[in-house]
């Protein structure tokens, strides 16, 4: 199996335009995203460009309620979670 591609900070700068235009090859795109998730400096740099893709990415910065994992665990332990619980319903039940 081929090694997963890795990009460094210099590669990120060089490939900025094709990344913002979604023109990178798939393995480069995934490596680009992987680097951005790990490197705050590059993430900040790329985030300064107001492309639609960047803005959509930024919209995803949503806080997940802290008890989410325990709710998943609870649902998983149930035979079939027919009616999903909202946090409010969960509080009422406990």
């Amino acid at each position: 199996m081929a090694d997963k591609m890795a990009l460094d900070c210099e590669d990120i700068k060089k490939r900025l335009k094709p990344f913002l235009e979604d023109m990178l090859a798939e393995d480069e795109y995934q490596a680009y995203v992987c680097h951005l998730n790990a490197c705050e400096k590059c993430k900040d740099h790329v985030g300064r460009f107001g492309s639609l893709s960047n803005q959509l990415h930024d919209l995803g910065d949503i806080k997940v309620p802290s008890d989410f994992i325990s709710t998943v665990s609870f649902n998983l332990s149930e035979p079939v979670a027919e009616v999903p619980q909202t946090p409010k319903e969960k509080r009422q039940r406990t």
Binding site: Q30, L52, G60, F68, I69, V72, S73, L76, T86, K88
Partner: protein, 162 residues
């Protein structure tokens, strides 16, 4: 076959994907976070019942996305967003995030799903094609068209004063 998840593996896998799945659901259903919480938690549980820690990250994420899209498809989206997630961002950025959010919400369900799968979840076109049940070429073509639609929607939002 149903895999029995131990607490540590479950915590790891949920922590890794919860943010992108939660965001996908929030934007597909129009911002109701209580409803999104319930849907995302149910999707995780249903998906993990037939998954195992040996599945690759991307395969699992694609399955989660597929489950979420199927569950959200019949939910009537009633836009009910607040700006609590933008707290701490500069005012200019908040303005542009509001604008893109409003533009996104004006698009049909499948267009929103396509954009979110690529630009928020960063799925490959191959995975997007599987999730949406279309060919990879079709996914790429639709993405180009959908980005153009989003651009137009942004222009309209701007023209109407945000």
């Amino acid at each position: 076959m149903s895999y029995k998840w131990d607490d540590n593996s479950l915590k790891l896998v949920v922590e890794r994907h919860q943010k992108s799945l939660f965001a996908l659901v929030v934007y597909l259903i129009g911002g109701d976070k209580n409803k999104a919480y319930a849907i995302a938690a149910a999707v995780f549980a249903e998906t993990l019942r037939s998954a195992s820690p040996l599945d690759t990250d991307s395969a699992l994420l694609a399955r989660l996305a597929h489950g979420a899209i199927e569950k959200c498809r019949d939910v009537t989206a009633v836009p009910s967003f607040d700006d609590s997630d933008f707290t701490g961002s500069p005012p200019v950025k908040i303005g542009s995030l509001r604008m893109i959010r409003k533009s996104l919400q004006s698009l049909p369900f499948d267009s929103k799903a396509l954009l979110l799968l690529r630009d928020q979840m960063h799925l490959s076109y191959n995975d997007i094609a599987h999730v949406l049940g279309i060919s990879e070429n079709d996914a790429r073509l639709r993405m180009t068209q959908t980005r153009a639609k989003l651009r137009k929607a942004v222009e309209e939002v701007v023209a109407h004063g945000g």
